[in-house]
Amino acid sequence: MIPEVGQFSLILALCLSMILATLPIIGAYQNNFLWMSMARPLSAGVFVFLGISIAILAYAFVTDDFSVQFVAQHSNSLLPDRYKLTAVWGGHEGSFLLWTFMLAGWMLAVAIFSKSMPLEFVARVLGVLGFLITGYILFMLATSNPFDRIVPLPPVDGADLNSALQDFGFIIHPPTLYMGYVGFSVVFAFAMAALLSGKMDAAWARWCRPWANVAWAILTLGIALGSWWAYYELGWGGWWAWDPVENPPLITWLFGTALIHSLAATEKRGVFKAWTVLLAILAFAGSLLGTFITRSGLLTSVHAFAADPSRGFFILAILGITVGGALLLFAFRAPLMKSEFGFDLISREILLLSNNVILVVAAASVFLGTLFPMVYQAITDDLISIGPPYFNAIFIPLMALLALLLSIGPYTRWKRTSKTYLVQQLGKVALAALVLGVVLPLLVTRQISLPATMAVAIGLWILLAMLQDIVNKTANKATRLKGLRALSFSYYGMQMAHTGMAVMLLGVALTSSFSSERSVLLSPGQDVGLGNYVFRFDGVASVNGPNYIGEEASFTVFEEGEEIAILHPERRIYLATNTPSTEMAIDAGFLRDLFITLGERKEGDAWSMTLYVKPFVRWIWLGAIFMTFGGILAAADKRYRRLRRKQTESNRSQGKSNTLGGELQASS
């Protein structure tokens, strides 16, 4: 009975979101105050009913209700409670419900934190979001209902959650990634509202910016968590595989990064308006593309859910209607969005434009490499795959170029910057970065490595330029501390995110050039050297968990004769599905990770295993954490709040005049 309540609640959410998708938008056209003001309560209603739905699904998991098909497929009575709860997003149906619920959460947030915006605009934004949610719920009810029952004979026990998912990473990665992903739907809705009204000004960009920054920050974190999880769970020592399902979040992220930069130019200078709107549409399209690829079963990947063609068609239809419709509307409205080209060739506008061109080219080439095999197969019927070398060949030079320009950006001024000023400011920084880039790796490794030199030089180029900029900006204040306090949150946010880029770049380059690995066969008591480390295999003992049995090996690691770590990699067999699973052992460190994967028992008591030393690998995720904080810091800037207070007051006074004469609302 209770799962049916969940389904009923889903249907109620559908009804409300259908009203939300129509009435407020029509109200915005006809200037109907009542219809427009229904947007906020309707959003709250959709959120509440979707919340009830997902809570009931979670309840079905926790109470082992295996008569619900989705629960029977993704849970088991032996599954630990924390995984029972999170198994809600362990499969297609539940994870799509989570996706939709999170969109409703963002929508509620817009409804609450939009007091500074005109009601007409809010009505359109929430209406567009309501339209998306309507599509998503219809999709669920038509093709992937998480509340479907197994009648008349439900299984005694469930099939269990995929053993690779029974991990802490699974608890946090999907929700964070979805949260960031659907955040770009909000930015998309803002862009649609602007296109629908035909009004796009600096105020629009200012409303949009904090939302874009927060969505971007969370998406950054979500992708980084996925990379970190893959690194320690999948057992091949890699942190990025250019997997077709990893790529769409990256495409979205690249468009999103371009977007938050072009929004800056749109807000401050009123330029690149149409471009900014297009980026908002593309970032959203990237997020839907990710959904399509994961859920259509078209590609082979660790992420793919089981295939069902009808789902693929439905998502393709949603993609076609929303993105196609948006682009059509854009084509009609874009000529109205005139931007002035009032800037010189050396100016902040040009630097931001270069940033956008590089990021969009990077996104397009990742898109091409991801989709090309599918298109090729459709045309020639031959199956092909595109390997990581393609992505590396394109991505690495583009990111290096981006990083080179990144330091110059903050030094340029709007409209015009003199060349001599830039040379005078950055010449010394460039020289210092170059010299240190050659010297530092040489001192540490005693050999010259081109990738390391370039990475260190570029990393220092970003960091030193940033430090000098902060020194410059605080020089004129009475004390440095006062100077630091006077700088805005958005400035610190930018510098922090840029620092993150430098740190990530160093991590990627150093771990790629200096990692070493060795696959060996060892018997207990034997040891083997790798780099500066000696790994001694001490033996294997059996360990049993709540829903698995396994064997745990012991290793002692020595550095220059001194014991530095004891590691326990495992091999498990999950009982419900009889699936084997490897648990890595990692000794994590700021400067290097030691990493062991246990293979299997061979002749006698010898075991196969792979040992890895990965220098600076943590810096990749550390960089992402910096970026995340940077994005949130920028969104928390005081001026958005100040504006909110001011506009709330003016809206209130307008609201009063509206009760007298409705026409005034249109001119706000």
Partner: protein
Amino acid sequence: MKPHRRKKLGIILFITAGLSVAVGFTAYALKQNINMFYTPTQVAEGEVGAGQHFRIGGMVKTGTVLDAPDSLKVNFVTTDFVSDVPIQYEGILPDLFREGQGIVAEGEMDAAGVFQASRVLAKHDENFMSPEVKAALDAAGASADNHMPAGTN
């Protein structure tokens, strides 16, 4: 031409030039890195060029997996139930690698006619067959359902 128009033109030319270079590089990189996918039957019929890097997919033939006792080398045979191709791989196989399961391997054929795999992929879900393996079996005219081990579908 008015100065601001000239500037606009300059920017457009700059973007176009940048994009053309990018498209050129991308197309080149793409061409260099395409891995074709072949079925065991196609390989047996000699459709693969010498020294070509490609992917092969099929089922791991039951009773063919041979571990070398003193190294990490593994030999097995992949099949689409029409033709067989022997595969050698050195390293630790994925968790779900098993006899009777579908796999995809990437590498090249050596002079002895053994596929030297640099990578072996097995799907992390028992009930799922990769589209590539399924295509290989369909192409060979073998219905996957008849050959899957009991208990899976």
